[in-house]
Amino acid sequence: MTDRATAANLVVEIDGISTHFGDAVVHDNISLSVRRGEVFALVGGSGCGKSTLLREVILLQAPTSGSIRVLGQEVVGLSDEQALPLRRRWGVMFERGALFSSLTVTENVGMVLHEHTRFSPRMIDEISAVKIALTGLPADAGPKYPNELSGGMRKRAALARALALDPELLFLDEPTAGLDPLSASGIDDLVRSLRDALGLTIVMATHDLDLLWRAADRVAVLGEHHIVGVGTMTELSQLSHPIVHEYFYGPRGRAAREQAWKQK
């Protein structure tokens, strides 16, 4: 990583992160890096700390020790004010959408633009509509309130809000959790097409094996406070580490893998 060109190509660099909650160790000296333009996935069983790691990268939580660099800037210990320019360059989609329930979908997207740009209200409405359309929502979803939408539509609306400021980096926390298989596979396609169309780098925490096979370029498996494997899905499925093996060769893992092979 001494090479500057390589460093510039790394969008997220996690170096020696440890996280403790009291006596409980969540991460022990974890290092990872995400390259520009890839769809990177963090996987692991429930409670293995993948969401915590994601929250540390997006400055919602501080690790106990270690360093995290996002878009070339150290984020550990950054104040809210210092973080603002950085936050405008990434978008976050939360597990349950976290749409503002008192605003319509269009207002949810437009609110971000209102805060950070000087566009006219008309332009903001139009850009919001474009973003909503980009995520595959029908135009009549715009004036609806989040509680009038289905789960899958809510995720898409949350994604539209995450895309509001044209971020170069997108964080997705469990993008398919709680969705039916059809909506989930819609999200798989959406993730890939957004990356291809907008040149985004996407980092997601997930445990959806289908999403991993279909959308992820590289995957890191978290287990026992460490990274137990990093690589493409094909590489990982050949690893012999018990956690990785269990993950990929459990009944559901096998089914997802066979499905993925069939499609190839």
């Binding site: 460093a7 070339g72 740009t117 474009v130 980009l134 004036p143 509680n147 907008l198």
Partner: protein, 394 residues
């Protein structure tokens, strides 16, 4: 590694200088020609096109003929910039001008294409119509009728369930009742006691001034005793409890409604009214009269203290006078109001909670309404009590 250069390299297109987006008309047609040439330059990104957005429509675009936009100068483009470019060309085309965009880099052209393919028609979504004054008045009136009806239905349901519970005492949730007695009653002791004590002081203080002029110092005991026991102490306690517990009921049930916990209760065969409303109402019916007795005492203590410091009336004299001034009915009329107030507070608070739907916003609104409405109804009920007691010569 925190060098500026690596920072800049982070976005490939940001390597070009961060110049503001520009769109200028280079050449207006001379006689015999009808081609207008325009030129784009700079950074067409969300952070740099805000200024251009306002100017672009004001440019002297032709009404007919042809426009050629030279986009070679666009150094960076994102979806917002692509939208602005697309919107400009689309507006011109809508007027019957033919537009050609030249020299757009292939990666940018695919952006514009993406936006064009997903583009929304202007005015595709009808804006929400604002209703007129008359309509608003009508809607509000109808909403309050609906409200009153749903409240009546709620009260009816609550009492049906109460009767059913009395028939089958096994269904009464004593643990929940005890918990509510603690949170609505015991935990409210300090605040109700303090406020009532201060109220006693205020009344004695104000009365002392008047009574002293007539040399009727000792009647301060009548004043404080009757005012506190009959009116102030039950009313004030009810108002404090409405603010403290009524709001909590509305917020708790409202949040449970929004997170579908109420629906979950129904699906597992537990009546939400039975579990959430009845224990609160029963607990408050027990606790509010008790709190009233307690605030009677602290209020009179406050008055007594003031009578001694201000009027030089000793505790003995005060209590002796109090004994002859207060008859049993004064005390009982005060206490008898408390259970009714309790029912109002519990039922209004819980009903408002059940009315919440959808959003955090709605929970907040219902909580506010719960407090305002229960205090309002408590005072209305108090006025009715005054009339009734007056008729009964109590």
């Amino acid at each position: 590694m925190t060098t500026v250069s690596s920072e800049r390299c982070a976005i490939p297109y940001a390597m070009t200088s961060k110049s503001v987006a520009e769109l200028t008309i280079d050449r207006t047609p001379e006689a015999g020609e009808d081609v207008v040439e325009a030129r784009c330059s700079g950074t067409w990104t969300v952070s740099a096109i805000a200024g251009l957005e306002g100017r672009v429509d004001a440019l002297p675009w032709p009404r007919t003929g042809k426009v050629v936009i030279d986009a070679t100068g666009i150094g960076a483009l994102d979806t917002s910039g692509a939208w602005l470019l697309h919107r400009t060309t689309r507006n011109l085309e809508a007027q019957g001008v033919s537009v050609r965009v030249d020299g757009l880099r292939p990666e940018f052209a695919s952006y514009v294409q993406l936006i064009a393919s997903r583009s929304v028609q202007p005015g595709g979504v009808a804006p929400r119509v604002r209703p007129g004054l008359l309509a608003v008045v009508g809607q509000k009136a109808w909403a309050s009728v609906q409200n009153a009806r749903s409240f009546l239905a709620f009260v009816g349901e609550a009492f049906t369930i109460l009767l059913r519970s009395i028939a089958q005492p096994r269904r009464i949730r004593f643990r929940a009742i005890l918990h509510n007695i603690q949170s609505a009653g015991f935990d409210a002791l300090p605040i109700t006691g303090l406020l009532s004590f201060l109220m006693g002081i205020v009344i004695a203080y104000q009365g002392a001034d008047q009574l002293q002029r007539f040399g009727a110092n000792v009647f301060v005991a009548d004043l404080v005793g009757i005012a506190m026991l009959r009116e102030l102490s039950p009313l004030m306690t009810a108002i404090i409890v409405a603010g403290r517990s009524g709001s909590a009921y509305a917020a708790q049930i409202g949040t449970m409604k929004v997170t579908e916990e109420i629906d979950a209760l129904r699906t597992v065969g537990v009546g939400p009214q039975e579990l959430l409303v009845l224990p609160k109402m029963l607990a408050l019916i027990v606790v509010l009269p008790l709190l009233t007795v307690y605030t009677d005492i602290t209020g009179i203590l406050g008055g007594m203290l003031m009578a001694r410091t201000q009027l030089g009336l000793s505790f003995d004299v005060f209590l002796e006078r109090l004994d002859s001034a207060i008859v049993m009915s004064t005390y009982l009329t005060g206490i008898s109001k408390a259970p009714i107030f309790a029912m109002i507070i519990a039922l209004v608070g819980c009903h408002r909670g059940f009315e919440a739907e959808g959003s955090a916003d709605s929970v907040g609104r219902q909580t506010t309404i719960a407090v305002v409405q229960s205090i309002f109804l408590v005072i209305v009920a108090d006025a009715l009590f005054s009339v009734i007691f007056n008729r009964l010569d109590l």
